[in-house]
Amino acid sequence: MTATVTSSTSAEASAPTQLTMAGALNAAMRDAMTADDRVVVYGEDVGPLGGVFRVTDGLQAEFGTDRIWDSPLAESGIIGTAIGMAMYGMRPVVEMQFDAFSYPAFEQMVSHVAKMRNRTKSRVTLPMVVRIPCAGAIGGVEHHSDSSESYWASTPGLTVVMPSNPADAYSMLREAIDSDDPVVFMEPKSRYWSKAPLALPVTTAPMDRAEVVREGTDVTLIGYGPTVRTALEAAEAASEEGLSIEVIDLRSLSPFDDATVGASVRKTSRAAVIHEAAQFGGYGAEVAARITERNFHHLAAPVLRIAGFDIPFPSPKLEEYHLPTANRVLAALDTWEWDA
């Protein structure tokens, strides 16, 4: 079996090559498995097939079936057994295949993964990573394009991160696997095939930090995962009209980096947050509330949310009407009173 990624597994950085996010994630798992034999990978179709998105491509051929294997098709079983394995000191990295297929595991995630450290006074910790391919814009039929992040992010005890680019994908997954606490690692499916020149191994900012990915002075646009690109497109278009937009890639949904976001908002005095998930009760509500509570007197306008409609995720031919676009972002910014 041929791996999609030919990056070095040694500690020495390879020469930069074009790498997709899927390839960067694959390399991160390969390097983590090489570095620590307690790292095991399992889930549905992750073995010979290499995962439905090929993120685990080639790993079983390289590491064998005791390190990476196909589990029975039952998500609660996958998460529940990973808890037991982590209790024994292993570092399981398990895949949920698609957002909506993680729901059978909700009880294990919320009642045990999130709470084990707390209920045992830190005597039992769970060094495990739950990889969840997430969000839409891939033409998926129903149940294949959900955005489940607010369920996890609103659960105390979980750490929830979502990279938006290949470098972060590698670095954040390595950090998540090294973490002694469980990490919900959300992978925006529409970005799996996005490329960047990358020399591995790469270490980007710590995974609990937000990053300013484009500096600006007039507006703070906040995105995560797939909507970072949307924010950057909007910023580029706006700059042609003389509007300077600062773009923040949240990277971490829990914890929320109040410091980085707050500093930006106090500079620009205007903020908007973009996500694919439905607006009502979505993650953007928390972002808007935190910005407002902490920076109200610096704000010149209400914090806006540019989000999916409050509807179940649409069928493939209708998803383009639902997903936030750069144009929709710019139209939203136009609703502010700019002369006030």
């Binding site: 037991g84 294990q108 039992v124 609990d208």
Partner: protein, 377 residues
């Protein structure tokens, strides 16, 4: 000890009549009813008797303390001692136990201190003992969820080539939960060293067994997953011990998982807030009281001359001493630091939690909570 489990076919249904080594009159059973299992030796049976007597006294004491308001709640295992102790006594100290909220007397048998077992029910914290030191997971409340943890842990041990077995308890009601089925299936497919002990105490709070299953026995379910199942008289500690021991041996030697159903009865209410007169007849409870697991073994041991009056007194004294220790620890208020609320959510500090901790600390310092006036550290 019989190791007929080696020859067990996973396609053969468990016997519809529960497998038994001692009958209710305390006589050794012979023939097919034993399933080929042999009676444990007298020394083992005496040890099981001692553990059951101590456990019964503990259980009665805790129920009394709960009625006095010393515990928020207590799910009693009165009458289920043979299931609890017969199974757990077969584990080594390297093996893991994954208990539920009803398994306090099993935890006692694992050597966990009464105050630590009961911390959860007193309300001091969700769990009070060192899970790694005792190789005993925290008591699970969400039904059947812990069965998957047992499968995962024992699979990890197997991958590490450690001869460790995980035993998990679940109730008859819990066999209706999806996680139980996923655990049975994962264990069988992965051939993990896991022993599932279903304590069929006939009721899930108020709902009787016939509203949980149409299967002739809960042990039958094992067949569909491709593992051996045993339908055992759960009030016969000799049988519970022998069958569990064989399942553990089999698991340790790479033979995979086993499902054991112990047929018993929940003599007490579900918890102190339950009213069993609404859903079952007193005569049914009396019927099962006449099948008491401790009396059964006692009759046998006395008839064999293994249980002398002196020994019986010694065991009763040990049980009384434990009850006294339990009373002492449960009538002493544990020191609780409210600021510890923030200490075990994440391994790394989080700014938001530190802010909330400081806010609570200020409230405590201001005397906002009478019960903790000046308690801030």
């Amino acid at each position: 000890m019989s190791l007929n489990v080696e020859h067990a076919s996973v396609r053969v249904l468990p016997s519809e009549k529960p497998l038994r080594l001692l009958d209710n009159a305390g006589h050794a059973v012979t023939g097919a009813a034993t399933g080929g299992f042999g009676l444990p030796d007298s020394e083992t049976l005496l040890d099981l008797y001692r553990k059951m007597v101590v456990a019964r006294r503990f259980d009665v004491q805790v129920t009394a303390l709960t009625k006095q308001g010393r515990l928020a709640t207590y799910p009693s295992a009165y009458g289920q001692e043979a299931c609890e102790i017969g199974a757990v006594a077969a584990l080594t100290t390297d093996d893991w136990l994954f208990p539920t909220y009803r398994d306090s007397v099993a935890l006692l048998t694992r050597g966990i201190e009464p105050g630590d077992i009961l911390a959860a029910f007193r309300g001091d914290w969700h769990n009070g003992y060192d899970q790694h030191a005792h190789r005993t997971a925290a008591q699970a409340t969400p039904l059947a969820t812990q069965t998957l943890h047992a499968v995962g842990l024992s699979h990890a041990a197997r991958l590490r080539h450690d001869p460790v077995v995980a035993l998990t308890f679940l109730g008859d009601g819990a066999t209706s939960e999806g996680d139980a089925h996923e655990a049975f299936n994962f264990a069988a497919v992965w051939q993990t060293p896991t022993v599932f002990v279903v304590q069929n105490n006939q009721f899930a709070i108020s709902v009787p067994l016939e509203r949980q299953t149409r299967a002739a026995t809960l042990a039958d379910k094992a067949v569909g997953y491709g593992m051996p199942g045993y339908h055992v008289d759960g009030n016969d500690v000799a049988a519970m011990y022998a069958v569990t021991q064989a399942a553990i041996d089999r698991a340790r030697s790479g033979g995979g998982p086993t499902l054991i159903e112990g047929v018993t009865y929940r003599i007490e209410a579900h918890t102190n807030s339950d009213d069993p007169t609404r859903y079952r007849a007193a005569r049914d409870v009396e019927h099962w009281k006449r099948r008491d697991p401790i009396e059964r073994l006692e009759k046998y041991l006395v008839s064999e001359g293994a249980l002398t009056e002196a020994l019986r007194t010694e065991i009763a004294d040990a049980a009384e001493a434990l009850a006294e220790r339990t009373r002492e620890v449960m009538t002493t208020e544990a020191e609780i630091d409210p600021l510890e609320l923030f200490d075990h959510v994440y391994g790394r500090d989080r700014a938001a939690l530190l802010e909330q901790r400081a806010a609570l600390e200020a409230e405590l310092a201001a005397g906002a909570f009478a019960s903790h006036a000046g308690a801030a550290r």
